[in-house]
Amino acid sequence: MSDQTDPGEPGPAGAGGGDQPAGSASERMDYLGYQGEPADKADQDSMSSIFKRAKHPVDTSGAPAGGSGVSAGGPDVAAGTSDGPEALGTPPHQTDSSRIPETTAMRPAGGHGGGVTPRPPRAEDVDRRAERRAERLIAFWFMISVVGTVGFVITNFVGDKHKQYYTPCLGSALGMAVGGLGIGMILWAKRLMPHEQAVQERHEFTSSKEEIATTEAELTAGFADTGLARLPLLRRTLLGAGTVLGGLVVVPLLNLTNAKPGKKLDHTSWVKGARLVTEDGRFIKLGDVSIGGIETVFPALPVTGADGTVSYEPRTDVQTKADSTTLLIRLPPGIDRPRKGREDWSIDGHVAYSKICSHAGCPVSLYEQQTHHLLCPCHQSVFDVLDGCRAIFGPASRSLPQLAIAADANGFLYARNGDYDEPVGAAFWERS
C-alpha cells in the first residue's frame, strides 16, 4: 500500500506534457481554462482531429525514430516520450498511438484540460431570469413543506385515529413537511450558491521535537513534584486504596439480583402428584388426547384443604410457563422405545416431554405426526419422540427431558415421580 502519485502535481506521467515545467503560466492556463475559453478550444481541436484522422489515414512511415518527423505534431511529443528503445532507433509499437503525431496533437500544449470539458457556468450564474426561475422553484418546495406541516397538524387533530388513513396520512404529511424543506435547501445550495471549491491546507499532527521534549520534561518534573517516585509507602498505599475502591463495583453488580442462582435452574414447578392441566384450566384425562394428538400442559399443584380434600391449582403464570411447560403426546400403541429405567414413565401411549428446547429455551412447537419428530422453530433442532426425544438434527445436543406420568383412579394424568430428573432448557456451566 504505497503512497499514490501525488495528483496535485501538474501533469502526471501521461504521454506528452509530463515535462512541461510546472510553472505558473501553465497553472494559470488551467485555472483560466475552467472559465471556458482555452478548454473549449482544446476540445474543438480534439474533435476536429478525430475527423481529420478518420478521413486522412496517417502515413506512419514518418513516425518511428524520435526524429524531426514527430515534432510536426506538436512541440511536446518527442520530448514527452524519451524512453530507451526510441533512442536506439527501434520503432515504437505500432498501436501505441501516443507516438503518432495526429493523436498526440489532440492534447493541447501544456497537457492541461485536454479532452475533458470543465462544467460550463450554470444558467443561474449568467442569466438573471434563470436565477429567478431557480428561486421560484426553491420557494415552491418550501411552500410544499408548509402544506405538509399544515396537513400533519390537521390530520393529527381532526383525523380519526381509528381509521385506516390516519397513519399513512400523518407519515406522508410529515414526509412532505421535512422533505419539502430538504429538497428546497439542497436546490438552494446547488443552484444559487457559488459553484466553487475552497482549498484548505492540512497540517501535520506531529508536534516539533522541541515541543515534545518540552512537554515531556514538564510532565517528568511535575511527576517528580508529586513525590510518588521517592516515597514508596505513599505510592503503594495509593495504588492499594485505588484497587480496593475499584473492587467496590462488584457490590452494585451483585445487588442487581436478589435471587441467587443456587439450584434454581435445576428445578421446575412440577411436584409429585401434580396434575397435567391445559392453558384454559382443563385437567387432562386418559382419552382426552386422540392418538397422534399433542397437547401443551402445565402443572396443577395439589393443595390439601383444611378438610383433607385435595384440590388442584393450575399454574399458568409466566414464571411457571418459562420452565414447566410440557408437551403431552399420544403415540400409537407399541411404537415408543422408552429408555432404560423409563419403561413406566408413560401410560397408554401418552408421553410427556419438556417443551423448553434444550438448545436455547424456545418452545418446541412443531410436531410431525408421520415421523414423530418435534421441530424447534428457533434454530430448527429436531427431536425424535420415539427415541426419548433425542436431538437428531440441528444445534441442540441434548434430548428433551422426560416427565414421568401416570393416571389416577379417575383417569386424570399426573406427575408420577415429581419434577424432571434433569434441568430443562438451555445448558449452563454448573450443569453436569
Binding site: 475552467y34 385515529k161 406522508s172 409466566v318 438448545h359 412443531l366 445436543s397
Partner: protein
Amino acid sequence: MTTAPPPEFVKRPTPVRKANRAIDERFGTQAGLRRNLNKVFPDHWSFMIGEIALYSFIVLLLTGIYLTLFFDPSNTEVIYNGSYVPLKGVEMSRAYASTLDISFDTRAGLVFRQIHHWAALVFVGSIVVHLLRVFFTGAYRKPREVNWLIGVGLLVLGILEGFAGYSLPDDLLSGTGLRIAASIAQSIPIIGTWASFMLFNGEFPGANFLPRLYVIHILLVPGILLALIGAHMGILWHQKHTDFPGPGKTEHNVVGHRVFPIFAVKSGGFFMMVFAMLALLGGLAQINPIWMFGPYDPSKVSSASQPDWYIGFLDGSTRLMPPWEFRGLGHTVPAVFWPTAVLPGILFTLLALYPFLEARFTGDTKSHNLLQRPRDTPVRTALGAMSISFYLVLWISGGNDVIAKTFSISLNAMTWAGRIGLIIVPPIAYAVTKKLCIGLQEKDAEIAHHGIETGIIRQLPSGEFVEDHRPKPELVPDHPHVPTDRYALPSANGHDDGHGKGLARRAGKAVSGFFVEEKEPGTPGHDTPAGSEKH
C-alpha cells in the same frame, strides 16, 4: 477569487453583529468561529452514508422521546381493554398494553413508533455500509485508527440498542428473543448463570426485568452512543475528512465546500431528506405489528418469525452450529456459546484490530489523507469481499427456514449448504476478488500506457491493421478552486489559527499548490514563499 485585505470594522453594528460582539467579549470567539465556519469538507456521494447514520440517530432520539411519553415499561399484568378488538380481555403486561395503546389510541403514536423502528433499521444499516466505504477506501489508515475503533464500538452498541428496543414491547417476538439472550448469557463458562440472573434479576423471565431493559435502552446505551458519536465527529472535524485523489487534491490539502454556507445548507437539507424518507416509511410501510404476535408467553412461539435484520447473522451462526456441547468435570459449555458469544467476539475484535494488523503486515507507518481505490489494494479488497461473503452466508442462514419453505427445499439441505458454504464461499470470494482487482489494475495500466481505444481502425502501409488509441485525458476540476479564507489577516495578528501558521500563509499555500492569481500588491498572502512551510 482573491484573498482580500481585512475589511473595515463596522461602526454601527446590526443586531446580529451586536450579538456576535457580545459573545466575543465574553469568550473571544472570532478566530475559532472563522476557522470552523471556513472548514472545508470534500464532496463525494459515498461520504454521505455516514451522514445517514448520524441523521437517523437524531430521528431515533426525537421519535424515541415521543414514545417515552406514552410507553410504560412495566411487567405488571393487566387485562387489555383498548380499541384493538381481537386482544380485548387478554391478560398481558403493561408494557405490551401500552404499546398497543401507542399503536391504536395515541395521536400520531403508530406513525412515530414505526418511524422509530425504521430509523433503527436504517441506523444500523447505514453504519454497516459506512464501515464498508471506510474499509474499501483505506480511510481508517493512520491517523484515523481511533475513529475506526469508535466506529466499531458504535456498530456493536447500535446492534445492542436495537435489540433492547425491540425487546421492550414484550410481545411474543421480543420475549422469544430475550429468552435466547438469557440462554446465551447463561452459556458463558463460570459466570454464565450469575450473569443471566443479574441481568434478569432472577431466573428467566426474571422479576421486573422490563424497567431495567428500559433504562438500558433509553439512557445507558443512547448516552454512550451520543458520547461516542460526539467523539467520532470531533475527531473527524479535527483531523479533516479524507478525499479521493483528483485534480488539485494532494495529501496536504482538502478541496471542497466551506462549512458555511454551502456545506451547512446541503447537510441540513440532507438531514431533512433522510427524515422525510423515514417519515414516509413509518407512515406507509408497516413494521413490527406487535398486535399480530400477541403478548409474550413462554409456552408459545410464532413460527418463521424473524428478528430485525442486524441480528440475523447471529441467528444464522446459531442455526449452522453443529451440536457440539462440551460436557465433563461436572460442567457444561453449551453449544450456543460458540456461535453467539465467541464468534461475534472474534469477528468484532478482528474488525477493530484490522487497521493495526494491516499496518503491521504492510509496514506502512505513514499518515494518509488521500483515499485508495479498492482495485489498487487487491489484498485488502479481497479480504473485505471474503468477510462480506462470510457474513452473508450467516445472514442468509438466519432465514433458512423461510427460504426452505418458500422454495420447497429441505431444511436439512439448507443447513448443510450453509455449513459447507461458510467454509468454501469466503476463500472463493477472496480469490475471485483479488483476480478482479489485478485485472482492473492491468487495464488501468494499459490505458495509462497506450491510451483509450478510439474504435478507429487503420491499415498501415505494411498491410497491418491497427487501432488508434487516444491518450487518457487528464481530469480537470469541475469547479473553480478558491482559497479557504476570503480575507487575509496580517500574520502578526496574534489571534491566528493557533497552529503557528498565519492565516495568510495558509491561503498562500493553498493557492500555490494549484493555481496562481494576479499578484495584488498589499495582499500579504502572495508574498509568502510557498516552500517555507515546515513539514
